[in-house]
């Protein structure tokens, strides 16, 4: 085994062209990919668009060798290649940055790079490796602290390191799976901009899975759209309009009109978070003296790069996490996140990942819908006896009203699709009288129709006078729904502004902690 691999200068290698021909993948009776042919030209920055479940991940997993396609082939620079495993893909110079980081948290950045090499030496001579890594870094468009443990790098640095790793391994065909979801808008623009330049110089070819039209328009030169496993369109990303792209993505599905924002003069403060503090399970402060007020009939959107304490904040409000210091007040009275106070103050919530945080997956839809009301009449008699009739009847009403698609109220809620789980939770949380609503990433991973519907429901609650706290990693969602924006960084709110007095750039700068 050769311990010393010469690292070729970046310009000596070029990004290859890749085509899929008649790619078909059948899982059991379900056709995930249906005769799909896409063409990514050498040195292009190609966007792969599609809703969740459209087949984007299946396609790239077939290219990467995780799945064996039922039919079809992959051509690299015009030659047919058989890719049976991720290792084959790696040997052909195809690399992927996954949505979840694949860096090893306990190793340093340098160790992560060196161990990823196919010819990693049996014994590392760090005295030799370090200068060679430095030399490699000098040629790279962005920099990462190499001697730092990966677990202490920021999300942006990790993402950069993932991309550096592909370049280090000389993988010049890069597949990026929603690479910017963990980055601030500034970081996203930096990373995509630099990759775009490398692609234009022909050094790499990039295939990027995305659902952010803004990024596609700003950085990509070509695109393909998938829907239900089929190619529904594609072409020049600069020539096509956003409306055209989104029509290719959603097809003829009817999308509900957005509820309108009604003006009102109600400015009573309802929810008051005063100096909230919380720690994670390892004792690190995740929410640090957070102050925020939410008024009646107002949506306050909390923006921030994921991992800045937003989920901890939602857990605090939902009673899933212990409040270390500070207090929550509703209408000026102390609120303790317990069932009794949820009822008394009419506090409801749509937590992120509802299947995990708001339901018991194996219990039935009817039971899950009854979680707020099972101990009160009409469902409970004498406060403890739950005859099946009333619970089922109420569930049937709500399933109908909120258009939850389920085979029966008795099927386990885990058998429902993501959008329908979220609708069932909405039905449970919003069917009563709501004073305070806490919402976290409500539309994550949902299709267009569900997104529109859920956003309208949230807006309706606001119009009815509820104080709404919306925590979201999707800045577009916040810009669309909020009356005021607050930016969370390092566990505290460092910026609050009415929506019409701010813009994406200002918010982005505060998200980065400036």
């Amino acid at each position: 085994m050769n311990a010393v691999t010469p690292i070729a200068p970046a310009a000596a290698l070029s990004g290859p062209a890749l085509q899929t021909v008649g790619m078909t993948k059948v899982f059991g009776g379900f056709t995930a990919l249906d005769d799909l042919s896409i063409d990514v030209k050498a040195g292009s920055f190609h966007a792969l668009l599609g809703e969740n479940g459209a087949g984007k991940s299946t396609l790239v997993k077939c290219i990467m060798g995780f799945y064996t396609p039922t039919k079809g082939s992959v051509l690299l620079d015009g030659q047919e290649k058989t890719i049976r495993s991720p290792r084959d893909a790696r040997d052909l110079g195809i690399g992927m940055v996954y949505q979840q980081f694949t860096l090893v948290p306990c190793l340093t950045a340098a160790e992560n790079l060196v161990i990823s090499r196919a010819d990693a030496p049996a014994i590392f001579d760090w005295k030799k490796e370090k200068p060679r890594l430095d030399e490699f870094m000098d040629k790279m468009p962005f920099r990462v602290r190499l001697n730092e443990q990966v677990s202490s790098l920021s999300a942006g640095e990790k993402q950069k390191l993932e991309i550096l790793k592909l370049l280090y391994l000389e993988q010049r065909f890069m597949i990026l799976d929603e690479p910017t979801s963990v980055l601030t808008p500034g970081e996203a623009d930096e990373v995509l901009g630099l990759l775009g330049e490398m692609a234009r110089r022909g050094e790499v070819t990039v295939l990027m899975i995305s659902h952010k039209f803004r990024e596609v328009k700003a950085f990509c030169d070509s695109f393909s759209v998938l829907r239900r496993g089929k190619l529904t369109g594609g072409g020049d990303a600069q020539a096509a309009s956003v409306a055209e792209m989104s029509r290719m993505m959603i097809g003829d599905t009817e999308v509900r009109d957005r509820a309108e924002r009604r003006k009102h003069n109600d400015t009573r403060a309802v929810l008051d978070l005063a100096g909230l503090c919380a720690e994670d399970s390892e004792g690190r402060t995740v929410v640090n003296a957070l102050n925020l007020k939410v008024n009646a009939g107002e949506i306050v959107g909390i923006a921030g790069v994921s991992g800045n304490g937003q989920s901890a904040l939602v857990e605090l409000l939902a009673g899933q996490k212990e409040i270390k210091d500070g207090g929550i007040f509703i209408h000026g009275k102390p609120f303790e996140p317990k069932r009794k106070d949820f009822d008394r103050f009419k506090v409801f919530g749509l937590p992120e990942e509802p299947l995990k945080n708001a339901t018991v997956p194996r219990m039935s839809v009817a039971e899950n819908i009854a979680f707020r009301s099972y101990d009160k009449p009409p469902i409970a008699s004498l406060g403890w006896w739950l005859p099946p009739g009333p619970m089922r009847k109420k569930a049937e009403e709500l399933i109908d009203k909120y258009r939850v698609k389920t085979t029966s109220p008795d099927s386990p809620i885990e058998s429902l699709s993501g959008g329908n789980v979220q609708r069932a939770v909405l039905a449970r949380e919003l069917s009563g009288d709501v004073d305070v609503l806490i919402v976290a990433n409500p539309c994550f991973g949902l299709d267009f129709a569900s997104v529109a519907e859920i956003r309208s429901q949230i807006m309706e609650q606001r119009n009815r006078g509820a104080a709404v706290l919306l925590v979201s990693e999707d800045l577009d969602e916040i810009l669309e729904l909020s009356d005021r924006v607050a930016v969370m960084s390092g566990g505290a709110i460092n910026y609050v502004s009415p929506i019409d007095a701010t813009d994406r750039n200002t918010i982005g700068q505060h998200m980065a902690g400036h």
Binding site: T102, V104, P105, C106, L107, I115, A122, E282, G283
Partner: protein
């Protein structure tokens, strides 16, 4: 207690630490390697007892205690490999399998070990490192078994190898993030199988020390849970081989409190002091469960961490 008897107690505890710690050290290093790869083998008590039996039988039959040590290691290797293989089957819980293997190993040892309770097998020789002293209790305390030194060398080697070799990095990677390892084309099951087998090998050697050096005979009450305590010790040592050695010495010294107090004529609370390692285990478990930094250093894939 006068100064001289305090001195005797301390020397006896040092000697005890050196003597008693060796099996702790081997089991803990083995478990440390296994846990670094992301799997827990609670069955090392079984490896220890079976290793003790096989070493004794091997030494008795071949006349060479070192061959006995090798056989003990191999018996542990087989048990460890079986654990590793069974755990790679879908939906198998490594903790439950470990408990089964604990009973399986001790059961095997008792079944095959009956004929070896009576005979006397050749024992391992100690190296007299106390030759420079004229004090008999120092000389006695510094009778060091070569396995003790091997254990320390092994800990140093492991700690170097985990940071500086490809294999070390692969083991840490598998233990900390299975997804990354898989994405890098590493076979997680194979890494864990090998790490569990190697851990089993080391525990078997720890068992050989019990029957061939101290206490130095084979009987069914030989181990009294040292294999289990060593597993707790890995948590205490926060998955660091060097700290495993310190922790083993601490446990050894705790185990030597009773006998060394007795040697200066204090016999009140003898049984209480003999229970010291067990009480220590209990407190260490409580303390480390509360320790937040221990949680940070735990390999991310361990089923107790998830």
């Amino acid at each position: 207690m006068s100064d001289s008897s305090l001195f005797i107690v301390l020397i006896a505890m040092v000697g005890g630490a050196i003597r008693v710690s060796t099996p702790f050290m081997f089991v803990a290093l083995g478990e440390c390697l296994t846990e670094k790869s992301g799997r827990i083998n609670l069955g090392l008590e079984g490896n220890l007892v079976l290793g003790a039996m096989v070493a004794y039988a091997g030494s008795y039959t071949t006349g060479s205690p070192w061959l006995g040590v090798l056989f003990a290691g191999l018996s542990g290797l087989v048990l460890g490999a079986m654990h590793g293989y069974i755990c790679k089957l879908p939906k198998v819980n490594d903790i439950a399998v470990g408990i089964a293997f604990m009973s399986f190993g001790t059961g095997l040892a008792f079944f095959f070990g009956k004929p070896y309770i009576q005979p006397t097998a050749p024992r391992l020789e100690a190296i007299p490192l106390g030759w420079w002293s004229s004090n008999p209790s120092i000389e006695q305390a510094l009778q060091v078994n070569p396995l003790f030194l091997v254990g320390i060398a092994l800990a140093v080697f492991m700690s170097w190898a985990l940071a500086n070799t490809r294999w070390g990095l692969i083991v840490r990677m598998t233990g900390d993030s299975a997804a990354s390892a898989r994405a890098m084309g590493v076979s997680i099951d194979l890494v864990r199988l090998l790490a569990t087998a190697a851990g089993g090998f080391l525990s078997g050697i720890g068992g050989a020390f019990l029957s061939l050096y101290y206490p130095g005979s084979w009987n069914e009450g030989l181990s009294s849970g040292q294999g289990l305590m060593a597993v707790a010790l890995v948590i205490f040592a926060r998955w660091d081989p060097i700290r495993c050695v310190y922790a083993a010495l601490l446990f050894g010294a705790a185990g030597a409190i009773g006998p060394s107090l007795q040697s200066v004529g204090i016999s009140q609370g003898y049984y209480f002091f003999n229970a010291a390692p067990y009480i220590l285990t209990l407190f260490i478990m409580i303390a480390s469960a509360r320790s937040k930094s221990a949680a940070r250093e735990a390999p991310g894939e361990l089923s107790i961490v998830k």
